[in-house]
Symmetry: C2
Subunit: 452 residues, 2 copies
Amino acid sequence: MTSTTTSPVTPGSGRPSTALLTDKYELTMIQAALADGTADRPCVFEVFARRLPAGRRYGVVGGTGRLLERLADFRFDDEEIDALADSLDERTADWLRAFRFTGDVDGYPEGELFFPGSPVLSIRGGFAECVVLETLVLSVLNHDSAIASAAARMNWAADGRPIIEMGSRRTHEEAAVAAARVAYLTGFDATSNVEATRRHGVPSAGTSAHSFTLLHTGPDGPDEAAAFRSQVRALGVGTTLLVDTYDITAGVETAIEVAGPELGGVRIDSGDLGVLARQVRDQLDSLGAYNTRIVVSGDLDEYAIAALRAEPVDVYGVGTKLVTGSGAPTAGMVYKLVEVDGIPVAKRSAHKESLPGAKRAIRLHRRTGTAVEEVLLPFSAEAPEENGLEKRELVIPLIRGGEIVSGLPTLEESRAHHSSVMVSLPWEGLALSEGDPAIPVRVVPPEALPGA
Amino acid sequence: MTSTTTSPVTPGSGRPSTALLTDKYELTMIQAALADGTADRPCVFEVFARRLPAGRRYGVVGGTGRLLERLADFRFDDEEIDALADSLDERTADWLRAFRFTGDVDGYPEGELFFPGSPVLSIRGGFAECVVLETLVLSVLNHDSAIASAAARMNWAADGRPIIEMGSRRTHEEAAVAAARVAYLTGFDATSNVEATRRHGVPSAGTSAHSFTLLHTGPDGPDEAAAFRSQVRALGVGTTLLVDTYDITAGVETAIEVAGPELGGVRIDSGDLGVLARQVRDQLDSLGAYNTRIVVSGDLDEYAIAALRAEPVDVYGVGTKLVTGSGAPTAGMVYKLVEVDGIPVAKRSAHKESLPGAKRAIRLHRRTGTAVEEVLLPFSAEAPEENGLEKRELVIPLIRGGEIVSGLPTLEESRAHHSSVMVSLPWEGLALSEGDPAIPVRVVPPEALPGA
């Protein structure tokens, strides 16, 4: 969860340092910059995505809260310095040992939408203290935002029906925890991942796998009823029984025989889920189990979820496609130097241009709440008046003088914020089909502002 | 690196516990199994992929060594038990507190190839002690094998030219370390990730980013030469200068002016890399910099690498596509109960069949070394004679009675093993184009064996 108390970004948490989760070139650049006297030049770096993944109409910022926690553990202790001893000179080692981020960070609050060029995070400080954070910042935001962006589409497709995140086994074990966190951020109801519950307070869910049914096999063959009886005895009649280990119709019959019509739910994890959901609903109703919920799982993505909208499905379980970003496993964000000593700078090579100068962003909304445009302004400029449109500031302060700002949104607050911004999108921007970004992004150059 | 000393799988390393990197249903199943007396039934679980990702012809086992390290930290201390207190009964909490894996694990050595159905890992022990490891086992193997499988194709495409892994910023910060490790396993030369060097001994690489060139901007504009001078002074003339911040031709000229014709390398990170590599090679040669290497990077995947084979490229830098598995971010491995108390078991639902019974695997090779077939046998069966073909056992013991077997392959040894198995594939199995698995997998049922 996002920290709500003021705390130094660096050091002393007792947790393992995150400082080596870093590309080597950051350290070699610092070495060169220390030697040539440029290490402390005031700089602004900006994190943004040049484009959205193919066909996507919006992205969702995920990971900001988690990033602040990881930055709080970014320090070079003796262990880290020793590991780097071969590749760095003494001066650089000393600088790293004394490192403590002293600058400012601003960014979009977690759960906010982003579009091509949106300045999702701005980092201001000396060159060296900013560049050293590059990899960690990008790793967290690229991963978490990719998952959040896919999750938001799944939530939209589910149209109010609950989704349980169950993808831990399909991704790196630590990425799984982060994925569960941002799935919850975008509206998922629960996760199977126990660590996500401990670490981030995400509600947990989980009952049983096919192996539990298969475990109840004896010399006389399978005994599905024994498995169901055991589960109901241990977890109560409100549990969800997995009915597709052998024959689904027989499984449902056995489930209700064992648990009675007050059984909480049945889960179907294979086959044509739409057809099966209808059959199982009819069967459950015919057995008087009108309130027994149907949980479906098995390689669901946003399209499969949407295709099941007309079927009697009560809960979706989503795994692989969630944790792999449903075809877009990384958000494509970059960390670019945009200003040095007040001078706007930018790379000029082909297809990798960035917009020079530190920026902030506002979103324009109609009185009805519908978003119509995102506007990027020079960081310190007043937003120009926009006829009849409401202006909403998108960037909030996250770190000031190296201290995490107090009162930042909690995960629950970010979840509520995400929900509110999703309803502000024009309806065509929410479609799952391929298309342009849901709203255009307009860049206001300094010379276009009043008084320029 | 893979542990080479005998050590208990559970507890007491001093490192944080990995036990909550687990799906909740494993714990609820244990609760039910403890209550009904089935928790200690002897079981065999098997890890395998039902199919390869679309179009892929082989998979590479990655993560086994890392998994054994993570299993060594799998224990339920007070902290973990407290976190679970709300959802588990006293008996289950006691069982978890006392948990220590006592069973056996066998598997394919890291770097080995796998095909649909290959029993990549077998876990034998009581039901509860085996099922509790399910999520962690799958998370590590699915992630690391997905990256290893993509990396192997990239190495093949590079045809002997070195590749540097630089994808940390595009994936979860911990997944990045694991990705760098398996990229090295499959033949990559180095990584940008500093933690992968510390933790796994992967050689490191990295010089500078565009921000370093942009940093050298003053009131009079950009000063690329100053940036290059600074880098050469700090890192020596063998360094690699990034020449595409402004104009590549001017950048190359400046680089050789500053560093002289003994400059180690130049890097191009944007544009049409093939065309640019030829132009830059000509320019370098005309400046007498015959030995200055050309490093190319920028969204390279195995196809782009192969397309550059005819160009004067000396080193590839690969990021995004490596860490996201180049279109296949997870290996699709599952963890299935295949035997209970000596009785073969299997789920029977549509499209998710598994082969009942514990298995091991051999690969048949021609005398020339070319692999022709993989054969799955009942775990304890003798392999039948195969006319004129050499048999190679694929499965090695990893854990015995809860202790990690001593003398397991190190990462360097696994890297050499991988290299040797790649050359055993029939040449058409190595193609990047879509196709069937490189070799067929044949299942020998118990009744087909001599003496059955």
